[in-house]
């Protein structure tokens, strides 16, 4: 395996190495497909389910295997192979973590086996037009009824509604003003949607979703108005999986750039013989290999940009697929959380500086 693509594989158990190799192959299998080709994503998901990778991080008693480390490892290797498995972010990491940590035993029994098998694909209803970075500004409300909860409101930028079997929804509890988290199947009467057109290649469609419907009490996860902790049980793993994607895509881009720079001859030598080409690639490699979390997405973006520059004009054609990867990495500077919000957190929690907002 080319050096730029190799995972450090330091201290991995034989099982973890097996997961790494399997995930890498499933990334390679779809590596020539467009990121926005949904058939490819769905076919890869079927492969992941058949190979057991969708079960990673789900508790064993519900058909799961391994922990969050194994899921992150798989996410990085799939991306390094050439095709990230987007559904691991929400359908596995977010839904699995929230249900496993905060669900009742009935809810866990109802949902987690399907999540582990990959047959129940959750989407996540959280973001609103007025609640992006400031999540607490939610306007979607959940009001108590005789049989459960009446949910009313509007969400935006909801991914994968078109291919999901269930939704995890975050609403404001009407009486306390705190957050409530619900899990319910799709399609659902009283839920309507329209598409958000996005200029970056995304694995899934994006939707505005409008809610005015009632769910039973069994849909509420944990206590009404006390969903904040449950929510972050899902959001922290989400950041980690996305960071792993960033590192993996960075490695893929670097390997492509390395190979092109070694073979493309201009003015009688391979372009990689020139420092203006090889030094930025070397710096990008250092960045990717030492990346942590926030910096993983920065490092991945830098690697993708240098790969794009290495390919010259051909990097912009659909034949090389480089711009696709670059655009996706650019998307990760803004979603799932803006870089600036992450820096705010590091400044306050990491450096003890005063909150700036």
């Amino acid at each position: 395996m080319a050096q730029a693509l190799a995972h450090p594989n330091l201290g991995l158990t034989p099982e973890q190495r097996g997961i790494a190799e399997l995930a890498f192959e499933l990334g390679q299998k779809y590596g020539e497909r467009r990121f926005d080709e949904h058939e490819a994503s769905m076919a890869q998901w079927d492969d992941l389910a058949a190979s057991g990778l969708t079960a990673l991080s789900i508790p064993e008693e519900y058909g799961g295997a391994g922990g969050m480390f194994e899921l992150i490892l798989a996410a990085e290797r799939l991306s390094a192979g050439g095709f990230p498995a987007a559904k691991l972010v929400i359908a596995t990491a977010i839904a699995g973590s929230i249900l496993a940590r905060s669900g009742s035993s009935e809810q866990k029994q109802r949902w987690l086996p399907g999540v582990a098998e990959g047959t129940t694909k959750f989407c996540f209803g959280f973001t609103e037009p007025g609640a992006g970075s400031n999540a607490r500004n939610l306007r979607t409300t959940a009001a108590k009824t005789s049989v459960g909860w009446q949910i009313r409101g509007e969400k935006t930028y909801i991914s994968a509604l078109e291919s999901s079997d269930a939704m995890l929804l975050v609403a404001k509890d009407a009486s306390s003003g705190g957050l409530s988290v619900f899990a319910f199947p799709l399609p659902q009467e009283g839920v309507a949607w329209s598409q958000v057109n996005v200029e970056a290649p995304a694995f899934e469609f994006q939707w505005n979703v409008f809610f005015d419907f009632e769910v039973g009490d069994d849909a509420l996860i944990g206590s009404a108005g006390a969903g904040g902790k449950a929510l972050f049980d899902g959001l922290n793993p989400e950041r980690l999986i996305v960071a792993a994607q960033g590192v993996g895509i960075g490695r893929w881009c670097l390997e492509r750039a390395r190979s092109y720079a070694a073979t493309r001859v201009v003015f009688d030598v391979p372009i990689g013989a020139h420092q203006a080409i090889q030094h930025p690639l070397a710096e990008a490699l250092i960045g990717v290999e030492s990346a942590w979390l926030l910096l993983a997405c920065d490092a991945g973006l830098k690697a993708a940009d240098r790969a794009l520059q290495t390919f010259g004009g051909s990097g912009f054609t659909d034949e090389t697929m480089i711009l696709q990867r670059f655009m996706y990495m650019r998307l990760l500077q803004t979603i799932p959380v803006a870089r600036e919000l992450a820096l705010n957190h590091i400044a306050t929690a990491g450096l003890g500086l005063p909150r700036s907002y």
Binding site: T127, G132, S133, N134, N137, T156, Y157, V196, N197, V198, E199, A200, V266, F267, V269, H274, A276, I277, L308, Q309, G312, G313, G315, F316, T317, D318, E319, L323, Q324, F326, M327, R330, L331, Q333, T334, I335, A338, R339, E340, L343, N344, S356, Y357
Partner: protein, 219 residues
């Protein structure tokens, strides 16, 4: 207009180039689209010339002098590309500033935060500097003075400033920055292309290193 090799230059042993006007409806001429991942008003093509016969009157200027003749178009090309990029930079800044003034999160406009305002201020400076260099290059060209250095510098500076301004505008808009509706990310591919085409930043660096700094040719 087609650049074609018509012989070998005896002194340099390199190709001698000539410029021709070719009618695209000529026999033997074919054009195949190249699918490109960017949104742009003009498409890209691979051209095939299979013994295309054109009249001698379609030779532009002197046979074998094509490269020298081309140079008279290269500086205007750099200057025009820089102007286009500066326009995108100004457009991006206008949109970003308007949004940062109006979008209220946590009770203040997001533009009140230095994490939003300072990066926009930085790219504003960069765009204005690029505009100055572009104007200088255009003035030198119009006044018959050597414009190569200024044109190359303008092209480089404008491309970098344009991309930085557009990127920061997208970042200012949060998730909306990627939505088609906001008219920003659509420009991304075309802006990013400017680092590579019509001349890459690395070739510009080579030119400046050799011609402005007198350093040895590196390639």
């Amino acid at each position: 207009m087609v650049v074609a090799r018509t012989g070998t230059d005896a002194a340099s042993n390199r190709g001698a180039l000539s410029l021709f006007l070719v009618d695209p409806s000529s026999d033997g001429f074919e054009m195949h689209p190249i699918p490109v991942e960017i949104t742009a008003p003009e498409k890209q093509f691979t051209l095939f010339f299979d013994d295309v016969v054109i009249p001698a009157t379609e030779l532009i200027g002197t046979e074998g002098e094509g490269l020298r003749q081309l140079f008279s178009g290269l500086n205007p090309e750099r200057i025009m590309a820089a102007a286009l990029e500066n326009g995108i930079g100004l457009y991006a800044l206008a949109k970003a500033s308007a949004y940062a003034r109006e979008r209220v999160v946590w009770d203040v406009p997001i533009g009140a935060h230095q994490g939003v305002a300072h990066p926009l201020a930085k790219v504003k400076i960069e765009v204005e500097l690029a505009r100055l260099m572009t104007q200088k290059a255009a003035w030198l060209h119009d006044n018959g003075q050597p414009a190569g250095e200024a044109a190359n510098m303008a092209k480089y500076a404008a491309a970098e400033a344009c991309l930085a301004a557009l990127d920061q505008a997208i970042q200012t808009h949060g998730g909306n920055g990627l939505a088609t509706e906001y008219g920003l990310a659509t420009l991304w591919g075309a802006a990013r292309l400017q680092r590579t085409a019509p001349v890459s930043r690395e070739m510009i660096f080579n030119h400046i290193a050799q011609h402005s700094l007198g350093l040895p040719r590196s390639y």
